[in-house]
Symmetry: C2
Subunit: 257 residues, 2 copies
DNA sequence: TAGTGGTCTAGACCACGGC
DNA sequence: CCGTGGTCTAGACCACTAC
């Protein structure tokens, strides 16, 4: 009977409640880091069942506005995204981060030789008799919070040559300081959802949005040397690019004939 | 008592069920467009309550794997993303799309003069006595499905000069064909969630992921002329970029001193 | 021990789609 | 009309956190 108090329109109760809470969050009534009323309090406040309250909270979680901590409560999420420049790729990831006031580190998950999948084979232009490739999986952390899961495939000869270094540091800097010059990077940015497995690696909810960066890096000779993808927590990272007229090899701003 | 059939580990029932269904989807047991068993059938199949089944389906929805249609059923989502090149900005959006075999169209929501917000004022380097700016909101559709919501702010003098043309066509082409040359675009790509309002515009679920492209375009004189943001359905669009060494004005691959 | 959120149940009513 | 998913209820038990 209190529905009209929330919203006179035909919105479902759970939506009316989550929209109301959303307004309060944006209105500053609940600040980042602050705790929302408990489910029990919200039940009384809005005169609805617990399930409906939980549904409303789920709406807020889906919108990335709050996080739940079992045994503690629901808290307004702090928004502190870090920007990674695509124009300055991983070579200077560290500098990118320190400039933004956060510490960054790497947690290596594996570094091993595997059989390339057809997709990797195609991207790296591997001949059909190439059966070995290096694969490195790692977690990237900023301020000790996991932000990204990276899987990189490295041509066997390069991986073999610099194996020791590659295991303990970032790939681009290692190659760069060893005279392997990356001249071109093709990148596709898209957005997916965290699977259960990824959600555990990155400490996020199942289905939470991920920014995916799929890349192939080429040397001067247009020879692909590494490819891979970085799955980043969408709530912690964004990408920046600066494009200039006629500045790129792909002739930006120019119509393809 | 049937939990062990699903997963012997300690996964919650709803997760075990959604993971099981997920495997079946990826395994091809349910193809894109195909209908999943109804809630009632799943209740019997897994011997759980309807709420638990619904929770499992919600997990799949959150992972972008299925869509629900009231009165019809749950269907495996078709994956058909369209790629938009950042190197070939909106000028050639049409060509980008037709090359990928989809039709594109625009639905204009509004084109009006407003007072610039502090943020817009700063981005466009407007003096404090500038009180008018053009604002255009539009929906971008491919194959008659809404994919993006765009809000663009245009400097008053340009909006005034080309008002008629701007209302009926894309901004970049209009300016370009009138001799206003965009020399540089600064772009930030991030991911957010659909609010209730946006979710209705783009026909997606509340909280569904959005790719956000925030841009500022400059003329030769480093004068910002337009800025804005495009909110794209993450399930329908991705961005591509090609970066070349020393190819960009922002000196990519070069350490900042 | 008390309070929090996480899981799960059985059952009701409604709204939409298709027959 | 029936079957579908959408909303909502009351109530139970569990696991975690803090005191």
């Amino acid at each position: 009977m209190e529905q009209n108090v929330l919203d006179p329109s035909k919105l479902p109760l759970h939506l009316a409640i989550s929209e109301k809470l959303r307004e309060q969050i944006f209105g500053g009534e609940y600040s980042p880091g602050e705790q929302l009323p408990s489910e029990h309090q919200l039940m009384l406040q809005f005169d609805v069942s617990r399930i409906t309250v939980r549904r409303a909270i789920a709406n807020l979680v889906n919108q990335g506005l709050v996080v739940c901590h079992r045994g503690k409560g629901v808290f307004v999420k702090e928004q502190n995204k870090v920007t990674r420049s695509l124009s300055n790729p991983l070579v200077f990831f560290d500098e990118d981060m320190t400039r933004q006031g956060v510490t960054s580190s790497i947690k290596s998950l594996c570094f091993e030789v595997t059989e390339p999948s057809p997709r990797v084979r195609q991207k790296l232009k591997l001949s059909s008799d190439t059966h070995h490739i290096y694969c490195q999986k790692k977690i990237i952390l900023t301020d000790d919070i996991p932000v990204a899961l990276d899987i990189t495939y490295i041509r066997f000869d390069l991986g073999e040559t610099f194996a020791d270094e590659l295991q303990s540091s970032l790939i681009y800097p290692t190659l760069d300081s060893n005279g392997v010059s990356v001249e071109r990077v093709e990148t596709i940015l898209e957005c997916t959802h965290a699977t259960h497995e990824v959600s555990e690696h990155l400490d996020i909810a199942l289905g939470a949005p991920l920014l995916v960066n799929r890349y192939v890096a080429y040397t001067t000779a247009s020879q692909p040397i590494i490819c891979g993808e970085t799955l980043s927590r969408a709530d912690r990272l964004c990408y920046s690019v600066v494009l200039t007229k006629n500045g790129n090899g792909s002739s930006p701003f120019a119509p393809k004939s």
